[in-house]
């Protein structure tokens, strides 16, 4: 079984009443790729829950990482993490996950994030911008009443980079308008992350429109 490590909660960022960032100080330096997640082992109700949390910080910081937690109704794992205070300990394994980006693809790259699906996209986008030779676009779905995480940072100008913020409910149509109906170019690479059915709907739209299966990568939480 996987090797367990421990981390200490160092800082808590209140992004909104139901969204928090937890900065973890790791006892063991962690080498990971942008997009990967930690598998947290949470003591809840006399058992241990295994719950994945994407790393929202950059891999260059190997001893201090941020995970983003949404408070899920009837979600014991997220309630446990919301109960933690600075100094508390979290057990984890990892890093895990194959939804990762080591360097930008050689073609135009599109990131699509819905709500807190931005967490793994954030370091992937930063890595892409550092290595890209073709345009990079972020389409960011904003859920009504929810915080728009990392908005100022993501909006910072960068050559070849564009960000569009749309309501979550418009993500599918906006994707269709820009990258399906907009032209016949099917060489783009897509990285999609979000919660729920929208992720598979976007996948099906793009693959159905002729983009290669391997060029449409996604992570659905």
């Amino acid at each position: 079984m996987a090797v367990e490590h421990t981390a200490r909660v160092e800082d808590i960022v209140e992004y909104g009443p139901e969204t928090r960032g937890l900065w973890l100080r790791l006892a063991t330096p962690l080498a990971f790729l942008p997009g990967q997640f930690l598998s947290c082992l949470l003591p809840v109700g006399g058992t241990t829950l295994t719950r994945p949390y994407s790393i929202a910080s950059d891999p260059e910081s190997t001893e201090r990482v941020e995970i983003v937690v949404d408070l899920v109704p009837n979600g014991p794992g997220s309630h446990h993490l919301f109960s933690l205070v600075a100094g508390d300990t979290v057990r984890y394994t990892g890093p895990w996950g194959t939804f990762a980006l080591e360097e930008a693809p050689s073609s135009e790259t599109i990131f699509i994030a819905d709500g807190t699906g931005i967490a793994p996209i954030r370091p992937m986008l930063r890595r892409a911008l550092a290595t890209a030779v073709r345009p990079v676009t972020l389409l960011y779905g904003h859920r009504a009443g929810a915080p728009l995480l990392f908005a100022d940072e993501l909006a910072a100008p960068h050559p070849g980079y564009t960000m569009h913020v749309v309501p979550s409910a418009a993500l599918l149509e906006e994707t269709r308008r820009r990258w399906v109906d907009g032209d016949t170019d099917r060489t783009r690479h897509f990285f999609i992350c979000g919660v729920g059915a929208i992720v598979h709907e976007l996948r099906d739209l793009l693959r159905g429109a002729g983009y290669a299966r391997q060029a449409v990568r996604y992570e659905k939480w």
């Binding site: 079984m1 996987a2 990967q36 997640f37 598998s39 990892g94 895990w96 194959t98 992570e219």
Partner: protein, 123 residues
């Protein structure tokens, strides 16, 4: 009763579990009556870093008998398996492969290595 027989490449002792699929879920991770759900619910270990939500490949198993008793793989499982080390034609994700037949007999082998893209961590 349905049966799952598990062999571990790591050398851990093989296990056989008898269960009634109609009693699923047996615990809280993976699809109800999935191989992961059955194993964990009967105290048999199987890695599942993402909590059984089809977001990693750590519950990869190779089905050596009884594949016809398992629910067909959906696109998200196929996409994940694309990136599993040691992929075989009968590879499945334990969290997604569901057994509904109360007379099913399924044999699986758990590969030694799980993937995390960076060596030295995880498995």
């Amino acid at each position: 009763m349905a049966r799952i027989h598990v062999v571990y490449e790591s050398g851990e002792p093989a296990r056989t579990i008898e269960f009634d699929p109609r009693e699923a879920p047996f615990q809280h991770d993976g699809r109800p009556a999935s191989i992961l759900d059955v194993l964990l619910g009967h105290g048999v270990p199987l890695e599942h870093a993402c909590g059984g939500s089809c977001a990693c490949t750590t519950c990869h198993v190779v089905v050596t008998r009884g594949a016809e008793f398992l629910s067909p793989a959906e696109e998200n499982e196929e996409d994940m398996l694309d990136r599993a080390p040691g992929l075989t034609p009968t590879s499945r994700l334990g969290c997604q492969a569901v057994i509904t037949d109360p007379n099913a007999e399924v044999h699986v082998r758990v590969p030694r290595h799980t993937v995390n893209l960076i060596s030295g961590h995880g498995s």
